[in-house]
């Protein structure tokens, strides 16, 4: 267990190093440098740029810059956002909680739906309900995330104006609402983006849960369970489900990258002021420090979630925990 832990931590660390190095290399390989890009206005002279370069250490050797970059990144000093005119860290501090709220709700909902659908399918593999659910899931699995978000927005916010078309709160009325009204307003703004994320991810979870269950159904211990006198349903619900849950916990970690992707699109479509929207807007504004740091942070989050999921599996699987 301890060995496994150490190996797994090392692997996560490797990912973080890979990501930060990748970001650094990208910035340095990109045409021009951050200063040139940010200060491309004509009224800034070359002399001023040179001064800035010296101030930011961009005239130092690459190795030294890399060390400084890593040190700064580790300290949480992620650079300065030119489009927001404040430190990247502050921009993230505002955006991250919004993303976590949206993604957290979406994750919980999608796993709840996905696991139930997967179990329902796998209990009678090849049956009519399995095949029909399978087709629906494959359609959802093939749908472009941003397009689904757009269609949901189109239908439930414009055609049938049931929910607000975007943002976290009502831009005009929010300040004048009672505390209860404020909560309701926030909840109403959450419905469509959470629904979109949940539908998108639930399809993948259900397919995975079904596959995981089908993989363990032919196991000898399922036969043993039946030979003991358990009903098929009870054997699936108790013996197979417990085994098939382990890969689903792993999936929880693996679903986070999909979530990061989904969040980018869903946040853009619903104007949800989270990390995804920050990154997307930063691309448009050519705010490179913000883009790079945003991607880096999302990637580290993803690696951290995968690590947590693996640790959870290790804790849940007696073969790893006690092996």
């Amino acid at each position: 267990m301890r060995r496994y832990l150490a190996a797994r931590l090392l692997q996560a660390l490797g990912v973080v190093i890979f990501v930060t190095t990748f970001a650094f290399v990208m910035i340095h390989l990109a045409p021009g440098d951050p200063i040139a890009a940010a200060l491309a206005r004509p009224n800034i002279t070359d002399a001023m740029r040179q001064e800035w370069r010296t101030a930011y250490g961009l005239d130092r050797p690459v190795g030294e810059q890399y060390v400084r970059w890593v040190a700064n990144t580790a300290r949480g000093n992620l650079g300065f956002s030119f489009s927001h005119r404040r430190p990247v860290r502050d921009v993230f501090a505002d955006a991250l909680p919004n993303t976590l709220l949206l993604s957290g709700l979406g994750l919980v909902l999608s796993f709840a739906i996905g696991i139930v659908v997967g179990v329902v399918q796998a209990e009678r593999p090849g049956s009519g309900r399995d095949r029909w659910l399978g087709r629906v899931l494959l359609v959802l699995y093939s749908v472009p995330d941003f397009w689904l978000a757009l269609v949901i927005l189109m239908v439930f916010a414009y055609r049938l104006p049931l929910f607000p078309p975007g943002g976290m709160t009502d831009a005009v009325m929010y300040e004048y609402l009672s505390p209860g009204g404020k909560l309701l307003d926030r909840a109403r703004h959450l419905v469509l983006p959470v629904m979109t994320l949940a539908i998108l991810t639930a399809a993948g979870v259900a397919r995975f849960q079904r596959g995981a269950l089908l993989a363990v159904l032919p196991s000898d211990w399922m036969r043993t369970a039946l030979a003991k006198g358990l009903s098929w349903r009870a054997a699936v619900a108790r013996h197979a489900f417990r085994n098939a849950l382990l890969p689903v916990i792993t999936l929880f970690g693996l679903a986070v990258p999909a979530f990061a992707t989904g969040a980018i699109f869903v946040e853009k479509v619903f104007s949800w002021p989270g990390m995804g929207l920050v990154v997307v807007n930063a691309i448009a504004a050519r705010d490179y420090p913000l883009v790079t740091a945003g991607v880096m942070l999302l990637s580290v989050l993803v690696a951290a979630c995968a690590l947590l999921a693996d640790l959870a599996v290790a804790a849940a699987d007696p073969r790893i925990r006690l092996g």
Partner: protein
């Protein structure tokens, strides 16, 4: 019962399963139509996709007899743009998948066959790449590099597409590397290259094809997503994603601009995924075999 007869039988039953699978016919039909549209876009498209039909008003018209899918905000015919967009999106996806599948297969086979440090390095890179969403990598690269040509975009998409295939092929290679006939071939003096191309690759090709088919859908989605963000295929060149992007600002009134290209993506990706799954089921029919049989008797090892 010789190995040859087993191989033959399973070959014919793979084909049989594919032919009798409704998903395969549906998927091939859809993909065939999409391919025809892409190839014959110049002949099929009712208008020039860049022609602004009503330059004085620049109004989007809803679907009508003259414009079955309406016109866009620049007064261009959406159907024509969609057809040309099919051309772009499909070409980008197919070329990217071909490149990444070839590269991934070779790398996976070599890593699995050579083993050791080569294997370790390749697999660590794959692990690391797996843990980061492809779209994030692409966003950084594209955002920093600015305007990319369609060719560069294709190469980038190929660059993030090979991980799954190489991992699969490596696993297959490891499984086959120590099979008796491979060991025998090596003992008889076959070169590493020969063993790789004659024995290892033919066995790994099945899962590589499945993975490649499934990744066509993924790459189409990825390209569409990037184009929607405005950093993929750039206007005025039409692609499915950037037509949707154009429509996304006018969701409340110009709905046709968002709806139809999305359906085109959905149908195409669905067909790729259905075909990939059918292939996988046909190649791996374990669930169709008897669940229980006598355990193999332990004879002569």
């Amino acid at each position: 019962m010789g190995a040859a007869s087993i191989g033959h039988r399973s070959d014919s039953s793979v084909r049989g399963r594919l032919v009798s699978d409704g998903r395969v016919r549906l998927a091939l039909g859809v993909l065939g139509c999409v391919a025809l549209v892409a190839i014959f876009a110049p002949m099929l498209a009712p208008y020039d996709p860049r022609l602004q039909l009503d330059i004085s008003h620049l109004q989007s018209q809803p679907p009508s007899f003259a414009h079955p899918l309406g016109t866009d905000t620049f007064s261009r015919d959406v159907l024509s743009r969609l057809m040309y967009g099919t051309r772009v999106s499909l070409t980008v996806a197919l070329v990217a998948v071909f490149l990444s599948a070839t590269f991934g297969t070779m790398l996976g086979a070599i890593a699995g066959y050579v083993g050791g440090a080569v294997d370790a390095i390749v697999m660590r890179v794959v692990d690391a790449a797996f843990s980061i969403p492809a779209i994030l990598l692409l966003i950084v690269v594209i955002a920093l590099w600015g305007n990319l040509s369609v060719v560069t975009l294709t190469l980038l998409l190929a660059g993030v597409g090979w991980f799954t295939i190489s991992r699969l092929v490596r696993a297959e290679t490891l499984a086959i590397r120590d099979a008796d006939y491979v060991v025998a071939a090596r003992a008889l003096g076959a070169s590493g290259w020969r063993v790789l191309t004659r024995h290892v690759l033919p066995n790994a090709i099945g899962s590589a094809v499945v993975s490649a088919t499934l990744s066509v859908g993924n790459i189409i989605l990825l390209e569409a997503g990037l184009s929607y963000l405005g950093i993929g295929v750039r206007p005025p060149t039409p692609s499915w994603g950037n037509i949707i992007e154009e429509g996304s600002t006018r969701l409340s009134d110009v709905w046709w601009l968002t709806l139809f290209p999305g359906l085109a993506i959905l149908v195409t990706v669905f067909a790729c995924n259905a075909l990939g799954e059918a292939l996988r089921d046909a190649l791996d029919p374990r669930q169709l075999l008897p669940a229980h049989d006598d355990a193999p008797i332990r004879m002569n090892g």
